[in-house]
Symmetry: C3
Subunit: 474 residues, 3 copies
């Protein structure tokens, strides 16, 4: 056993691999072949202004705690208030402004992340990106804060410098359909076309979302088309898709509580939209319209070839007090069970065989991987399965995904990896975990005689690079 007072730490070069020596060795050999491949980041939430403006990344608390709901939700679950963690409030309540205090609180509770993917990423970032050689704890918190602060002030830690150090080949952001894309425009003008936008119309197609009416007005303004009817709404969305595509977008993204799809009669769609404009929605209108708009978005993808992404199953803003006090996307979203087989039938039967159409699916209900998603992806030409999302983007989550999906769907109906993160400095760590876990999984498959080493190596390349690049038409 090690000395229990040890606070130095290091990264196990064989981390994520099986303890079994033959699998570990082969996993390591496969990993060596793919570890340095460029990163394809086709779906994420890094703000493009970070790269456009190329300012510093702020304090250690700005980088590691305040924007990362994986981090502060775990602290919250153990009784630490969001105020004390400096999370910006929506209702004007005071929150901690001293980032040294926030950092101390984080460090005092760093043990909470033991055995979690957040713990794995944080350790990897601190060591690999920032060269911190002591395990973070309450004693050394301020010293590490100083060290990180010094590093963050160096030019080598600007967003663009890190982007290049991380060997990112392409990075897609996620942008409201009404966004001006000014930062993307700036980046393109500046020769940074490897940063691309993604078209996300959730706040327009969900009629009951707070601020919907204002967003429709914004859509009119941004599209240059007055949205006064369902027909003009569709035209404006099409215009916006064209604009996004012009600025480099290759994909759209859609979040929904359920996978329900349904083609409404155009007259019915018009009536519902009319009621929404008049603020007179009836029960069921919003859910039916959302289902219809998924169908419409598939139609548009058949026409403009933007790859459609669908994320299903998050019950948003479960913790109402957090939502009231701090707003959306603050860790208060919880998964619910999902259904795909019946729900996607209208969409797939309408567009599932169209050569230009591609639909990438993400779930928060792992039980659907093997039961519904893999059989569907193993049948419909348009379908690819996205990697594990959110709570399941972890070592064991990835292993369950591979175990559940590949036997039925095959490798080539999956979409590789995406990091789906706003935590910019964690991007290499997340890809590294994916590459390690897929190589380890392939090593197991090889040693069990299901594929040979030649095949495993080709598959490792696909997992690490090829699948995502082709899936998103990058």
């Amino acid at each position: 056993m090690q000395d229990s007072n040890a606070t130095s730490w290091h990264l196990d070069p064989n981390r994520c691999f099986s303890p079994e020596p033959s699998q570990r060795t082969l996993a390591g050999e496969l990993y060596q072949e793919v570890r340095s491949l460029p990163l394809i980041c086709p779906h994420g939430h890094v703000p493009p202004e970070w790269l456009a403006e190329d300012h510093g990344l702020g304090t250690p608390a700005d980088l590691f705690v305040i924007p990362d709901h994986y981090v502060f939700r775990m602290l919250y679950s153990q009784g630490i208030s969001l105020e004390a963690l400096g999370i910006p409030s929506r209702d004007g309540r005071a929150v901690e402004g001293d980032h040294r205090k926030i950092w101390q609180l984080f460090a005092d509770h760093f043990h909470l992340f033991r055995g979690t993917p957040t713990g794995l990423w944080l350790k990897d970032e601190l060591i690999e990106v920032f060269g911190i050689d002591m395990r973070l704890n309450g004693q050394n918190a301020q010293a590490i804060f100083d060290e990180l602060t010094a590093k963050l002030a160096e030019p080598a830690f600007s967003p663009r410098a890190l982007f290049e150090r991380f060997s990112i080949e392409v990075l897609c952001s996620t942008d409201a359909a009404t966004d001006t894309l000014q930062h993307h425009q700036y980046l393109r003008d500046d020769g940074w076309s490897q940063v691309r936008p993604t078209f996300r119309p959730d706040q327009l197609v969900n009629l009951d979302m707070a601020g919907w009416r204002e967003n429709i007005d914004l859509l009119s303004e941004r599209s240059g088309l007055e949205v006064s009817s369902y027909r003009s709404f569709i035209a404006a969305l099409e215009e916006r898709r064209r604009f996004f595509k012009e600025l480099g977008a290759t994909a759209t993204d859609h979040a929904a509580l359920e996978a329900r799809t349904e083609a409404l009669d155009p007259a019915e769609a018009e009536r519902i939209f009319e009621r929404a404009l008049q603020g007179q929605l009836q029960a069921g209108d919003a859910a039916r319209f959302t289902a219809h708009m998924l169908q419409e978005m598939a139609r548009m993808s058949c026409e403009d070839s933007l790859v459609m992404q669908l994320h299903v199953g998050s019950h948003r803003n479960h913790h109402q007090a957090i939502h009231r006090g701090f707003g959306r996307d603050k860790g208060g979203d919880i998964p619910v069970a999902g259904e795909w087989t019946r729900s996607l039938s209208p969409l797939l039967n309408a567009y599932g065989d169209e050569p230009a159409f591609r639909l990438i699916l993400f779930t928060l209900d792992e039980t659907t991987y093997g039961r519904e998603l893999a059989p569907l992806a193993g049948l419909y030409p348009c379908l690819l399965l996205g990697p594990p999302w959110w709570f399941f983007d972890s070592v064991l989550g990835i292993e369950r995904y591979l175990d559940s999906v590949i036997e039925t769907a095959g490798l080539y109906n999956t979409a590789g990896f995406n990091d789906d993160t706003r935590a910019f400095a964690s991007i290499p760590s997340r890809h590294d975990v994916w590459r390690r876990v897929t190589c380890n999984w392939l090593a197991g498959m090889t040693l069990r005689g299901f594929v040979d080493e030649t095949e495993a190596l080709e598959m490792a390349h696909e997992f690490a690079y090829g699948l995502a690049k082709r899936a998103y038409r990058l």
Copy 2:
């Protein structure tokens, strides 16, 4: 790493075993004891005429591609049309007739099956049954086509010769309740009573199935009883069961979307049946009648001791264009979530303790293994759990089944293995995978101290042979 140009291939003698040396060794020892046991095939879809007529098995495309929806659905999912694969159309459209071209297309895309059970079975068949020593690819496709064609012309590759070479002790087909069983009769007369029919009445008990009325007429004809009422319907089914049993059947088979069971009042059953005869079904009639007929079939099994099989959870003909163009059972069926606890309650409370009654359950929803099926099978004397079905009849699928079921239900409430296949030449491969995976699983159980080697060996025999034989009363 191996030479990536290598195209020779071989079967790893330790395939499916754990990479861990002690488990691998013990798995191999257990496997040696059961690998050559005769095959019990109590449920499958090999056409009995193949064995009755004992003709050749056709071209390589006839054997490996055209009848196997596991194969052509994977190709379809990557954009290859069913027409190009020579799948017979239902609507008269032209399909590829040149089997060399079909074979080439299959070979060009053989990499799609990497890591899938189909890939494992195909490799095993090509090497073990046909002696092909090169991995199939686009370059060698025609040479392998020639080699297979030559083999298939030899008498040693006739269905009966293969049946004996495969060491099949008993093979049960699945036959419509209205079948004449002429091939079974012929086989019995010819001394081949090891081929047995299974009674499958789905097309009679599902009132809304296409062709139901014609099937009722056929039932009248075949049973010699005019079916003009619910009462005579029941009598005709009983007569047909008697006939099947006379020709060697020991089991019935039932497919249903859901496990719902319900005893209707006889007068109510009569009224629904009447409406069906008059083509005036009301909403819900068909589902209630199916639920009632499962209950009735259980009653009949109590009387005639035919073992009842129930396969639940396939949403049939999900891909409507494939269904329209090519008909049923073309890979377009997708699982849905299931429920057993409440659904089977009426049936189990009526017949679950009857000594003559045996009910074997199959699911496409793995989440029900541990939550519902194992607890039910560990309680009701009539129940046995069938092996993983369809998409889950794979190495990892079998492991998840064993991990989920045995701790709660025990070994002795399971029904061993069945291959459930129409792909005749794949039968030994499928049983071999089951035997390897169960032996490997038992080796793990032994090394972890849950059973000792003596117990493991007895359990390996049960998995490979005893359980299926007793479950089906063979």
Copy 3:
């Protein structure tokens, strides 16, 4: 291979550990550090009178077969009647009274428990607690019966002697809210305050439960408050909680078919309660009232700090003939699928952040571990996840729980282990399995580089001792 006639048996010192040598070694090292820690037993069903009266534990059949529904349900599933096993009948039918015959029947079928947790516990108990050195079978059944009988007559095998030998630090029983707690009072007076009651009001809050009206009268009697209205019902429950707390209770326990929670308007609660008193319940009343009472119990816990436990998902008395003939809790309960995210929302939004409130959740639907329970526990400060319950309290069940829960919820949002058993002599075996499996899991986490040895050791202590002790405020 071993001699198949061997009937001697022994406990593998490395049982439950991985076969992989490095993991096995590290698991063993961690286990050495925690194996002898005292047992915290915060939830179970050992009758307190056993310890109060400190009589002998009866015959071997009394100890191992008759009270253990895990044992007799497996025998029943293979066609052995409950009458033959001496299970006391509710309807006066005769049951076997010769405990030697019952024991013989059990021994004849001991192989049914191969690979089950019951088999593991029984072997461990027979060897470790009773020193039986032959594997139980039909041949040696009577000799072992004699040996056990002799042991059970010794003072060292009295309940209190075993309690101390087992190194139990605290043992909580589960007691009806109307219980007099006389045995607990006696034990406290006798200096045995390490035995504590738990407040279980299920038979009062479920309005449609058989005997509800009589239980309400009993509640009036025991609380000294006449329960004639909803208001007085609440007051009486609060009085009983106070009484339980006075006698050492730190927790309450609630079983429900579903996790539904709902705050009724007090007037509505009063109306429903009124209808119940008058025997005029309307459809839906009982389910709504139960949901409301969960909410109320949470409110009371905020006030008196009793830890609330909620067990969800058992469909009670599925086998109606067993229920009629032998009563409740006879192995005839079967899990159903569950939902937590939406169901607990009212309760969590009302009380989830209250510092005094703690809610420990148990499920019979493993699919909710990762999808709903871990995300909820990783957010709400009040929540902790209980260990695997019932059918899942097994080696593989514990491993699935750890794999599904820890990455998202972290270690510190779980509640350690409880044995939940009436089988007194199995308590050390059950804790030992938990300790072995958690140590083995931590060894794997360490070797894969997710935690280091220092962290793993601290976590092993938490799993074995600290988590349960703190979770239950013991």
